[in-house]
């Protein structure tokens, strides 16, 4: 399994060092997919080990852009891998593992955040569509990109204190009263900041939801 390590390392280091030319990079990325396929011929387990090694970190990071919660991003990516494993569809997909996994993670992350912002109080199960569309429309791809950019800009534009509280709450999973103690604020203040952040986020995510589903 040594060579796999080698390839995935070189792929990552490229972006930091950036001395490889485009065609070289292309071959490395293609080779990654090839290596995963080889690993799958050995065993399903080896195949998934390779998939995780090569794609997990980036998929997790990508999911974070949508949900801004470590635990949820982990869950979303693991669920996608899990379903991919259980459904045996890794044997038969026509696209690269990469394209499949990214599409599935984005789909799930979107469903999750939409559900979370829409129905924070009542709990019915979110309308997760498991299907990864075989041919995604350009609009769909672009809407996903615009969505995570919009979420980022909402958080970016929050007043500093509000942003800080939001990240402590969501990203570090701290409770409101913990944040209040940590920052020396009243609980009510923390709650008000969180409410403001969530309301901004809700506007940004849900406002486009209708259009999104129509396109879908």
């Amino acid at each position: 399994m040594r060579p796999v390590e080698h390839f995935s390392v070189s792929e990552t280091s490229f972006h930091k060092g950036s001395s490889l030319r485009h065609d070289e990079l292309q071959s490395i990325v293609v080779d990654n997919e090839h290596l995963i396929r080889v690993a799958f011929t050995e065993s399903t387990n080896k195949g998934f080990e390779a998939l995780f090694r090569i794609y997990y970190q980036a998929l997790f990071s990508h999911a974070l852009r949508f949900v801004y919660t470590k635990e949820k991003a982990e869950d979303i990516v693991c669920e996608v891998f899990h379903d991919f494993w259980k459904s045996n569809s890794f044997n038969s997909i026509q696209i690269t593992y990469r394209a499949y996994l990214y599409a599935a993670v984005r789909n799930r992350a979107y469903s999750y955040i939409r559900h979370e912002l829409k129905e924070e109080r009542s709990m019915t199960s979110p309308e997760l569509s498991e299907q990864v569309p075989s041919a995604e429309s350009p609009q769909l791809l672009i809407e996903y990109d615009e969505l995570f950019q919009r979420i980022e800009s909402v958080i970016h534009n929050l007043p500093p204190q509000c942003q800080r509280i939001f990240l402590l709450s969501r990203f570090e999973g701290k409770k409101n009263h913990e944040i209040a103690t940590e920052l020396g604020l009243a609980l009510k203040t923390v709650e008000a900041h969180m409410a403001r952040a969530l309301s901004d986020l809700r506007k940004a995510v849900l406002a486009v939801g209708l259009l999104f589903w129509l396109v879908n």
């Binding site: 292309q26 990325v29 995780f52 970190q57 709990m123 672009i142």
Partner: protein, 332 residues
């Protein structure tokens, strides 16, 4: 138009830093499905170059692998024997196999399979009991509750226990991250990702309260639906129609007050108390007046035995009680 689509442009696009015209060009380029692979490849490269937070693929892989292997259908009981190669010396291995087989057949004929492979701990009315499982986890069972778990090999794979009634769990983290799952009679399944929580699974309703750590809830009737992840202080209730509602409580300890022989009321109606008396002490309770049934009380009181609880209730609600064996009638 295609030739202006290069990696740098896509990188700028992912970062939200391109002009509307450039975006239009990208949209046109994406019209061709053949370019989608290229798009995802660049998205992946861009993501790798702009990671949001570190993550461990090894942990995620181990967790997913464990979950998949646990879900694979297999007959657990046989594993307990066959996994122990020390038993299979070539002289007597046939004999051992024969004995095991006979035992199994015998057991299933007499319906004792459950008794042989599972241990059940049953707690009677008016008592609580602590159980330490072989993996070090501590379970405190409330009155009129039972816990069933595998006699052999508990902790080798997913640690699954079945609960009827009410119990508080302090789950020991295992070195191999084996999951700890609590299954309740109505198909609500609690998977532990953290440590301390209280499960209430009785006729009236099922309820989970999480004190620390993290648990996932799943209905076994709908294994496909996404699980609900609870955070500390969350309280999830399933009513008889199977509907789940989530609430948050500042004092999750209240739900396990019975562990310390206390009863904690928080605007609790006499009707609810009657249900608790029935569940925990086996009383049959009748309340003469519907208005009385809805009267509520708040507070925390010692509850070492049934008499103490009944005294407390009559005093608290200022009501009269007539008792005949296990039949109780409350009157104004």
């Amino acid at each position: 138009m295609e030739d202006i689509i290069v990696k740098n442009l896509l990188f700028d696009y992912f970062a939200g830093q391109i002009s509307p015209l450039q975006k239009k060009a990208i949209e046109a380029w994406l019209q061709n499905p053949n370019n989608h692979e290229q798009y995802y490849q660049w998205l992946h490269e861009w993501e790798l170059a702009h990671l949001q937070a570190p993550a461990s693929w090894q942990d995620a892989f181990a967790r997913t692998q464990e979950r998949v292997s646990q879900e694979a259908p297999e007959s657990q009981p046989f594993l307990a024997v066959s996994r122990n190669p020390g038993w299979w010396s070539y002289y007597n291995h046939k004999m051992v196999a024969a004995i095991v087989l006979i035992t199994l057949i015998g057991a299933s004929v007499f319906g004792l399979k459950g008794v042989i492979f599972y241990k059940t701990i049953q707690v009677g009315y008016g008592q609580t009991q602590q159980v330490k499982l072989t993996d070090g986890s501590l379970v405190t069972l409330n009155a009129n509750s039972s816990l069933r778990f595998p006699r052999f090999g508990f902790g080798d794979g997913t640690r699954t226990v079945e609960l009827t009634g009410e119990a508080d769990f302090q789950v020991q983290h295992s070195p191999l991250n084996q999951r700890f799952v609590v299954v309740t009679p109505k198909g609500l399944q609690v998977t532990v990702l953290g440590t301390q929580f209280t499960v209430f699974a009785r006729q009236r309703r099922s309820q989970i309260t999480l004190r620390t750590g993290k648990v996932a809830l799943q209905m076994s009737q709908t294994p496909k639906s996404p699980s609900i992840i609870m955070k500390p202080g969350d309280l999830v209730t399933m009513d008889n129609s199977g509907k789940l509602t989530r609430a948050h409580t500042a004092n999750p300890e209240i739900q396990s007050a019975w562990k310390h022989q206390r009863i904690t009321l928080d605007r609790t109606s006499l009707k609810e108390i009657a249900a608790i008396l029935q569940e925990n002490y086996g009383f049959q309770v009748e309340i003469k007046d519907p208005e009385l049934a809805n009267r509520t009380a708040t507070g925390s009181f010692p509850a070492h035995n049934a008499d103490e609880v009944l005294d407390m209730i009559t005093e608290l609600f200022d009501i009269n009680l007539t008792r005949q064996n296990n039949k109780i009638v409350f009157k104004d």
